[in-house]
């Protein structure tokens, strides 16, 4: 059950976030780079926000492009 409109893809660095955004945008998945919310991670970097309904499609693209991510978490806000 989807509870939140947006989810965050957590990555290892902003550089990885930019790469991920680039690859997802190529496949017409809307993204926005946002600072990682504190409740998700203590890192000071950015994560890639997507619509929660795009999570499955995004996961497939991530796997296909062999992009390492830390995880996908639903956002409480934004």
């Amino acid at each position: 059950m989807i509870t939140s409109k947006y989810s965050a893809i957590l990555v290892f660095s902003t550089g990885h976030a930019i790469r991920l955004e680039h690859v997802l945008n190529q496949q017409k998945i809307e993204t926005k780079l946002i600072p990682v919310p504190r409740y998700l991670s203590s890192t000071c970097g950015n994560c890639v926000r997507i619509k929660t309904t795009d999570t499955e499609a995004a996961s497939k693209i991530i796997e296909k492009n062999r992009i390492e991510i830390q995880g996908i978490k639903e956002l409480q806000e934004y």
């Binding site: 290892f12 660095s13 902003t14 550089g15 790469r19 946002i34 890192t43 000071c44 970097g45 950015n46």
Partner: protein, 384 residues
Amino acid sequence: MIYFDNAATSWPKPPETTKAMTHFLENIGANPGRSGHRLSVEASRVVYAARESVAALFNVTDPMQVVFGSNITEALNLALLGLLRLGDHVITSSMEHNSMMRPLRALEARGIKLTVIPCTPEGSLNPISLEAAIGPDTKMIALNHASNVVGTLLPIAEAGAIARKHNLLLLVDTAQTGGAYPVDMQDLQIDLLGFTGHKSLYGPMGTGGLVIGERVDISKMEPLKRGGTGSHSEHEHQPNFLPDMFESGTPNAVGLAGLTTGIEWVLREGVKAIRAHEQVLTQAMIEGLRNIPGAIIYGSLDAMRQTATISFNLSGMAPSEVGLRLDEEYQIMCRVGLHCSPAAHKTMATYPGGTVRFGLGAFNTLSEVNFALNAIHQLAKEKK
């Protein structure tokens, strides 16, 4: 004014390079990868675009394999010092620039075994002698793609095949070929590719890096430096993933903005078209020099087998005198001496005097080549 010192640094640059750097300084300016605000994110995009352009030029599978540094010297140091350990054996050629040779000699002093394969006086390397040098402890073959002194191309494709056959890593210094000669990391089976931005990639100084291929075990590779990366900030230990593992400290984002446009210019013009143009100029220069009495030309004398870098001497004149007179009397900028490559000059039997070097580039023309040939002819005649 005629600029023939492109083998050291290319000049001029495409106008887009200057514009991109000015745009970055005026409109972006923030620290890439550190903060979450829009300017920092935009700066990160600029750095990422540079990774994409390097990956496109060298046919790299994943842009994150592109590690940026200040130049190719840093890149070669990272590859050599990062991977070679006590007891390992490494093979190189006698045509290397000091950016390769000095870290190798330093490693040799620490107990790493080094074999320097002698090249011919023209600067050619026989792949058979390369394979014959391989022993049980050999870990790496480290070669330039083309000599910075005389332009001679080394057999990198053959070296790549030999490295794979014997399960070795192949490190290639593409300072003289990247952007001016086709370099396909996959086709040539290169594992570690050093590149520099300020020569035939038509970017600014202070840009360059190392592309780290999939066969390299980065868990066994030591960074040259450690520090802030903007990632894993909660940890006091260096990240263990590419490219952050080897990219500590604020990068030269303004330089990388220029590098991207330089590479985009190269890709638009086409490496093959640039190569064809430079080959015509090179052959014309070689033929012209051959017709000048007293001119001694080094290398293969065949533009097909070299880059657009030509070394020569005038009998009875020191290279420094030729260089000074070309500059002062004809406004021709070139480089004289040993070109940071004593090994190459020993191979060519031009040590310690050195040579006069013309490094031609994509912006040079046939009329400039002819003007320079007339100037040299004049100097040779006066010497008689």
